[in-house]
């Protein structure tokens, strides 16, 4: 998938003779949710909606794929029989609790025998993941996921737990503090220069101030999502500082040589 424009991507697809399926991720929302900052990058998702591997696509090992294929449905959703259309619509809508009940009544043996447990695992994974996001103070991703998780557990015993977790998003002080950290990191990143000229014009004291601030944040939120985001941003700022110092030193040498 790509977050680039169709206008730029389609000629590339045609030129390369690409035959595989692709789609667009407007504004790179999924890419950002996954914290992907370099491409190419791939994620391997199991039949239960869980990411089980991620990395450079050329480093994917067959051993990571084989068990997933064994678990997957033989028949992809777009080839399901017509009588399964309501189940299909319910799953696409993300109403997995309702879908679990419907799946057990399907005429298709594969759907009747495999889909309920598959949906059950999908729900379990979603709830566990949502819980982990809250505990990890990954507040923006948790907020983005909250609606779909609530929909997934509608009519299931997990609904109360999910409602309680969602309530924490609105009233937990640590989560509120984490949200401020992510907003501040976004603000700092928006202030980072995107051209050589802008980088050379940047006030190093300001940059050092950002680094000090984020190092303190990383310590305050150690081993939590905001802390990791702060550390990652410090690494980028440090690279930027090294670049600026080298370039300025080279400029000074050039000027000294020409005098």
């Amino acid at each position: 998938m790509t977050s680039e424009s169709k206008e730029d991507t389609e000629p590339w697809i045609e030129d390369k003779g690409v035959e595989y399926a692709y789609a667009y991720d407007p504004d790179g929302v999924l890419m950002k949710s996954l914290g992907i900052r370099g491409i190419p990058h791939a994620v391997l998702v199991d039949p239960y909606g869980q990411i089980v591997w991620r990395g450079h696509p050329m480093t994917l090992d067959a051993d990571a794929v084989a068990p997933l294929l064994a678990d997957a449905l033989e028949t992809p959703m777009w080839e399901w029989p017509a009588e399964a259309s309501r189940l299909r619509e319910t799953i696409v809508a993300g109403k997995f609790g309702m879908a679990i009940k419907m799946a057990g009544e399907q005429q298709s043996e594969e759907l009747r025998t495999k889909a309920p447990s598959m949906l059950r695992k999908l729900v379990d994974g979603k709830v566990a993941g949502f819980t982990a996001m809250i505990e990890d103070l990954d507040v923006n991703v948790a907020e983005a996921s909250a609606g779909s998780v609530a929909l997934a557990v509608e009519g299931l015993p997990e609904a109360d737990k999910v409602a309680s977790l969602r309530a924490r998003l609105g009233n937990d002080e640590k989560l509120a503090a984490a949200k401020k950290v992510f907003a501040r990191i976004d603000e700092i990143r928006a202030g980072m220069p995107d051209t050589r000229e802008k980088a050379l014009a940047l006030d190093l004291e300001k940059l050092n101030g950002w680094i000090d601030e984020l190092e303190a944040t990383a310590e305050d939120f150690a081993e939590k999502a905001p802390g990791r985001a702060a550390t990652s941003t410090v690494e980028d700022l440090d690279r930027l500082r090294n670049f600026i110092e080298k370039e300025r030193a080279a400029q000074a040498r050039d000027q000294g040589g020409s005098e």
Partner: protein
Amino acid sequence: MQLSRALLGGVGAASVAVSLSLAGPAPVIDEATPLPPAHLVDFAQSKASSLEEYFGQAVLLEFFAYW
């Protein structure tokens, strides 16, 4: 059964077989995590029109750019 090599690109049109024949490091995540909500649009070269339609399949999502 095939891996749904959906939404791939970036490294060119390398086939699944080529990708999978390369030995690589172990998975870089220790614990499975749910795929965050995704609102992908304009599916092409696929019978699916949303990511949700890959329910029950193993899917490799690759993030690529044309440049």
